[in-house]
């Protein structure tokens, strides 16, 4: 084959993306992947999805709530359809005080609260105002995938802190601060999900909490406490929020997404005064204001319904589903290991040595069961030996069937791995307490 000759038809050059060379470096990691594409199948009704962290909403009084919202949109239309404050609706900020009281946060006023467009917006704001590219955020490993996405977009170095069945390991936290500072790195904050962790399902023990705060104070490292699941303890138990023990060194995030409904995209933050002022300005720059209509809808719900009973109903439902998944795992996947959670949405499943949860996902999708591969919860490629299973959305019957299907997938994958075992690529497992 030679080069095109002079009589060649002129060629048109098409760049698949003419702006490819113009993107910021932080966009480099934003790419399509086979794994992401596979999740499109998980939305089909014939697929049992143990993947998504979607709350089960059927306990909400949709009809009655809709009528009240319709009335609210008429009676307070000039507010609901209008711009609002970047800090959030004062009425809702008053409302959230009573929710935080349940976890021991009593020393605050509505003016201490900033409403955000979901906690994802809150994570974006705190990282935006605190971190320059190359700064360090310490985070439990594994870690909430949405937080990792935010950190990555700000080109932050995420350094793992060990997590075990009692939550974040204080000694590991301290070691990480010391070692990073020796490297000349700026450690900007610790990111932790202390209650019913996503994805690990564990809870930071009450004994460890003061120790974590003591270390944070000693080294002047801010603690970002993300607490979407704290009220979803199966027995109604709650744990003292880190923020309830330290008002000056903790930024607290919580959300209505898991306890009421994620479609409203409403969450809140509490922060020390200086940080709070920056957050409000950053929120204004980012989204102008959280949506009034959503905030007023949440207030309407809180003001008119027994939300404490509803949350209690959720606890019972999630407990049943967790028990079902735990029993199904013991029946179908006894060779796997996990910590049975006491609340929240997730079981963090360790799969047999040699299996790779990411590589196995196409086979699972073919078998019509979906999960999230463990690698999604690490920045450094770890996690191939784990998967996150959600019990929040599927019914108990679907959970049983999903775990059964998963067992057939693992059996088939094990056979293939054993067959080709000698020369296969070894996935990167997990360090630490797993």
């Amino acid at each position: 084959m030679g080069m095109a000759d002079e009589t060649q038809t002129p060629t048109t050059v098409i760049r698949n993306d003419p702006w490819y060379d113009s993107y910021a470096q932080r966009a480099d990691a934003m790419r399509a992947s086979e794994i992401r594409a596979l999740f499109a199948v998980a939305t089909r009704p014939d697929v049992v999805s143990l993947a998504g962290g979607m709350p089960y909403l059927d306990y909400l009084p949709f009809k009655e709530l809709s009528q009240l919202i319709a009335k609210m949109l008429v009676d307070k239309g000039d507010q609901a359809w209008q711009y609002g404050s970047a800090q959030g609706d004062p009425h809702l900020r008053e409302d959230v005080l009573q929710i935080m009281e349940l976890e021991g946060i009593k020393d605050i006023q509505a003016d201490d609260v900033v409403i955000t467009n979901g906690s994802q917006n809150g994570l974006d704001l705190i990282t935006r105002i605190m971190c320059d590219p190359g700064d360090v955020v310490l985070a439990e490993a594994p870690n909430y995938v949405g937080a990792l996405g935010v950190f990555q977009s700000f080109q932050v170095d995420v350094v793992n802190v060990e997590l075990d069945k009692d939550g974040l390991v204080p000694e590991s936290f301290e070691e990480a601060i010391i070692s990073q500072r020796k490297l000349g790195k700026k450690v900007k904050f610790l990111y932790t999900v202390p209650n019913f962790h996503n994805p690990a399902g564990v809870t930071m023990s009450v004994e460890r909490r003061p120790r974590v705060l003591e270390i944070a104070r000693k080294y002047h490292v801010l603690v970002v406490e993300d607490n979407p699941y704290g009220l979803l303890g199966f027995e109604g138990q709650t744990y003292p929020a880190l923020r309830s023990m330290d008002a000056e060194n903790v930024v607290y995030l919580s959300s209505f997404s898991k306890i009421i409904a994620p479609g409203m995209r409403i969450a809140w933050m509490v922060a020390p005064a200086g940080i709070r002022h920056k957050l409000i300005l950053a929120n204004e720059a980012s989204i102008l204001c959280p949506p009034n209509m959503s905030q007023m809808t949440i207030s309407t719900y809180l003001d008119n319904f027994d939300w404490r009973k509803q949350i209690n109903d959720y606890r019972g439902m999630y407990k049943e589903r967790c028990e079902t998944m735990d029993a199904a795992l013991r029946t179908y996947l006894p060779y796997c290991s996990w910590h049975k959670p006491k609340g929240g949405f997730y079981i963090w499943l360790k799969i047999p040595e040699g299996l790779d949860s990411k590589a196995m996902l196409p086979r699972a999708i073919t078998a019509k069961v979906a999960y999230v591969a463990g690698t999604g919860f690490y920045m450094d490629g770890q996690g191939s030996d784990h998967m996150r299973l959600s019990f929040c959305y599927p019914t108990p019957e679907q959970i049983l069937e999903g775990v059964r299907r998963l067992s057939t997938v693992m059996d088939a994958e094990r056979k293939t791995i054993e067959l080709f075992g000698a020369g296969r690529r070894q996935g990167k497992g997990t360090d630490g307490g797993w």
């Binding site: 000759d5 048109t12 760049r15 790419r31 199948v41 196409p362 080709f420 075992g421």
Partner: protein, 390 residues
């Protein structure tokens, strides 16, 4: 699941269309393109590269009366349960968006339990179906058999032809034996065979005889899912594992070095319009899932930067494959043009990707076709053929 054109699809298609390198559709012969989709001055259009109006106007010679477009319902079936669901939804809504812009009454439906009742209900029964399902149960032909049982006209190849093209080893064998096309040397190996005969023995034989580099891929499926280029012998085991995660049988092919080209064909009343070969150049040399589905650094050249006689040979090979495999209405055939200038057939697709990063629309746009017009003419061609009675 059904959605009307008025909601989801409209928003998505409009937004996406706004990003399309639209200037490609505004050129005519002799004009310079003014476009954000082209990064260097585009050479003057020539008749060779311009739209083949003859192919379209000849087809229009069939003057069978059709209903007005606004009164003609086209149902796009997209989604499905294959690994390529996401791409199928994108393809479906992209085509639907263009058809809607051309005035058709467009509807969408997933492939689920409500589909057959929807098709048979007189209130919802469409005039034409355009299956845009990628992967199993879409490209393997099964849905097309059901459409024929429902006596509904549809765009695309019939079931048996789809099934043949869907199975890569069978398609390769047919075009090689019947059409004398060149195909890379390959073997087809079910996972079970490794179990029975021994992994090491088979892998050694593959490396010794086919020789590296090898391409390992599932015998069916698209978007390069489960495909691996093996350049070292110790990569082969993992490549087989990754492949068997998608299918129980692997095609192990000698990787051919050369120019990767793709030829799209549309048929109007049986008369083929062969679009110019499109050359694909990726930074790392592999047109993998990420390169296919992320607008990124991949460059396309239309026509491929090959001598005219090679371009002609590639087009002829694509047309031969289309005919030998009994494909109909639309297809895309992929080749590697090897060091001797021979087009080596890789596969033919009966439901080529139609997203904004897909090859067929890119080739058509670069040649000067208006996609709304092109897809409309294809729909009209199918409607004129009165296939239900046939």
């Amino acid at each position: 699941m059904t959605t009307s054109r008025a909601d989801m699809a409209k928003t998505q298609a409009r937004a996406a269309q706004a990003r399309e390198p639209a200037a490609a559709t505004q050129r005519s012969a002799g004009q310079k393109a003014v476009t954000q989709g082209f990064t260097e001055p585009v050479a003057e259009m020539t008749a060779d590269l311009g739209p083949d109006e003859a192919a379209l106007t000849e087809a229009a010679g069939n003057t069978m009366a059709l209903k007005a477009r606004s009164e003609t319902s086209i149902l796009i079936i997209c989604g499905g349960s294959s690994h390529e669901r996401d791409i199928s939804i994108s393809s479906g809504h992209r085509v639907g968006g263009y058809l809607h812009d051309a005035g058709w009454n467009v509807r969408y439906h997933d492939m689920d339990a409500s589909l057959l009742p929807y098709l048979s209900d007189p209130a919802t029964r469409p005039d034409l179906v355009w299956p845009l399902l990628h992967g199993a149960k879409g490209e393997d032909g099964s849905i097309r058999d059901l459409l024929e049982l429902e006596r509904l006209p549809y765009v695309g190849s019939r079931a048996k032809a789809s099934g043949t093209a869907w199975n890569k080893p069978i398609a390769k064998n047919v075009v090689r034996k019947v059409g004398q096309l060149h195909t890379p040397v390959s073997v087809t190996l079910p996972e079970e065979l490794f179990r029975e005969l021994g992994v090491r023995e088979i892998m050694d034989l593959l490396v010794d005889t086919l020789q590296l580099p090898l391409f390992v891929k599932p015998i069916y499926g698209g978007s390069a899912m489960g495909c691996t280029l093996v350049t070292e012998a110790d990569q082969l085991a993992q490549a087989m594992i990754d492949c068997f995660a998608y299918a129980d049988t692997a095609l192990v092919e000698r990787a051919v070095t050369g120019t990767e080209v793709s030829v799209s064909i549309l048929e109007f009343d049986g008369k083929p319009l062969v679009l110019p070969p499109l050359e694909i150049v990726t930074p790392n040399g592999t047109y993998d899932y990420e390169a296919r589905c992320t607008p990124g650094p991949t460059d396309f050249y239309v026509p491929a930067r090959l001598p005219q006689e090679t371009l002609d040979a590639v087009k002829e090979a694509a047309l031969q494959a289309h005919r030998i495999l009994s494909l109909r209405d639309i297809s895309r055939t992929d080749f590697i043009v090897d060091g001797q200038g021979r087009p080596q057939f890789l596969e033919s697709n009966v439901t080529p990707g139609m997203t904004d990063t897909s090859l067929l629309p890119k080739a058509a746009l670069a040649t000067g076709y208006d996609l709304a017009d092109l897809y409309s003419r294809l729909a009209e061609s199918v409607l004129r053929q009165d296939r239900v009675q046939g």
